[in-house]
Subunit: 344 residues, 2 copies
């Protein structure tokens, strides 16, 4: 087992910067596109052997320091009674979204060991073949609540925020349910074999700091506390959080995800020395010529110098049209340059 | 003429916080929706008398401290040879977007006094009826370049950024042309009667700070320098800029726009005391019950205390489904609360 990634989560010295990439399994790989000719995304997720196959595709192709189980944040909502579909070209759709307080009362409170057993099984199977650590993950309560209320992706989150402002009691009730479920799901993934857990609060940057503190943070914190009882390091990820990183840190996690909208030196200064940072490369930078890409990667690595608390990643997921050879070059370069820079 | 807004642009003491709202003329008003039953958005913009009528709708309805000419950032691209359409339900579309260096060579370099004469005429006409200051505006070079290359709105700006990374020479050539045109357009609006000028870099938050410094800032700075030759104060607006406010300030402007993704006290600390701040309220906060809305507005006003350099606004444009009575309540409350708080 190569432990570089887990060591970095604990701020232990490493021989080279660990790197993994959000959405490292996906459409940019021909192996994945081929599978998707036959199977829908939910088929792949809900068939543990297939989820393992997809999880392993980037691991077999590249020199990555961690695997992340192939899954999605939304199937967790199905167990609550929400109907999930993935519509080709438009993305996820929930046809019975939450629109009023009564809808929240009616939500089931599933045991994730049953409702998403397929992902837990996939985790156990993946561990048997992996030689790098495996990351389990969940959507954060706020991001899940937005999907559950909006019924899909949204530009301004007017429905979700309106419910939050107009019916705070119902909102808090929903967030209580979600945070219990998310915490339990993360814990169950650790039981099943996940070695690091990541909470994806992809949409949290839609909130003002004051709203985040009041309506979202306590629930991320609760889920993270439960996840931490497993003993696994927890990564707390969000985007568009440059203006509220201290609050994200307060929400918890050993590792804080940052996107590319902040200089990583500024992020370190704001977050202080006692948390690990993950991320910072703009996913679109992978479309740049390799020399330009390397130049930007070098800048990030130089800024982090010998800071032990940094894990290389993108600021958000790999995009479907990313050139696959640039991904290979990126991973190789991060290892090569950082091991030289650290004098190994 | 009520000068509260212009005074605040110069950090002079005011009797109450000035307030205006981005996209204060628009679909949330029934007067506007009624006009749009008959006329397309470009009809309204390109007929000076109608543009004035729309400009005046919110001024007549509410106690606003500034008007902003009814126009759009994209018609400026038409004079360069790009074909602009507004498609119902999807927004603006350019059917001959820039895709390669040769497309940039072919761009015209129009005189905005001719190519967008209708907006300049509207400005002159509006000044004859207005009793509050009039704001002229332009899209910033980066945001305009994104539209010109992507051909419309975009989620990840992969086309625009790819051109930027792959053909930096062509990118810089495009930005030179755009910044000359934008600077000249802003200057011409001042000549026509605009009293304050705002540069809208709505999409600049898609860039990392390093990319902003290299690919965008010099061109915003150039446009702002030209605009400043008019003697008018300049407002430099962007969203998702919490992680690079010092660079936005470096780009220039007397007033810096901030969205809601940062605490306004933090924004003041980062920007220093020598610039005016505008913005900070989440547009979706206007969907909240009035008591909740007032509470958040109070928080912002309290944080700015007697700081003379603050103009109340949203962090981005008013949304089409905003309750119109909440807009009235907001404007009234900002004046009332701030004049009391300042002891007037």
């Amino acid at each position: 087992m190569r432990t570089r990634f887990i060591d970095a989560c604990h701020r232990k010295p490493v021989d080279a910067r660990p790197i993994w990439l959000m959405r490292q399994a996906g459409r940019y790989m021909s192996e994945y596109r081929k599978l998707r000719e036959t199977y829908g995304i939910l088929d792949l997720i809900k068939t543990p052997e297939m989820a393992v196959e997809v999880t392993m595709q980037p691991i077999n192709a590249f020199d990555l320091d961690a695997a992340i189980i192939f899954a999605d944040i939304l199937p967790l909502l199905e167990g609550m009674g929400l109907n999930l579909e993935f519509i080709k070209g438009t993305g996820p759709l929930i046809d019975n979204p939450i629109r009023q307080a009564a809808d929240i009362d009616k939500l089931h409170e599933p045991d994730p060991r049953e409702s998403v057993a397929y992902t837990l099984k996939a985790i156990t199977l993946a561990r048997q073949v992996l030689k790098v650590p495996l990351i389990g993950f969940s959507g954060a309560p706020f991001t899940l609540a937005c999907y559950a209320i909006e019924g899909g992706a949204s530009r301004n989150f007017t429905r979700a925020k309106s419910l939050m402002y107009e019916q705070p009691k119902a909102w808090h009730q929903l967030m209580e349910k979600l945070s219990t479920l998310v915490g339990e799901y993360l814990f169950a993934q650790a039981e099943a074999g996940a070695q690091v857990l990541q909470l994806f609060d992809s949409w949290v940057g839609a909130l003002s700091p004051d709203d985040y503190r009041e309506y979202a943070m306590p629930y991320s914190a609760k889920a993270i506390r439960r996840a931490k009882e497993s003993g696994c390091p927890v990564i707390h990820f969000g985007t568009n959080t440059s203006g509220m990183l201290p609050l994200i840190k307060e929400g918890g996690g050993d590792v804080i995800g940052v996107d590319w909208r902040i200089d990583i030196s500024d992020a370190r200064q704001i977050l202080g020395p006692d948390v690990v940072i993950q991320g910072n490369l703009d996913p679109v930078q992978l479309y740049a010529p390799v020399s330009v890409l390397k130049d930007r990667v070098k800048t990030i690595l130089d800024k982090m110098g010998d800071d032990p608390g940094y894990i290389f990643n993108l600021g958000h997921g790999l995009l479907p049209t990313t050139p696959v050879d640039h991904v290979a070059e990126l991973i190789h370069f991060v290892h090569e340059y950082s091991s030289k820079a650290q004098g190994h």
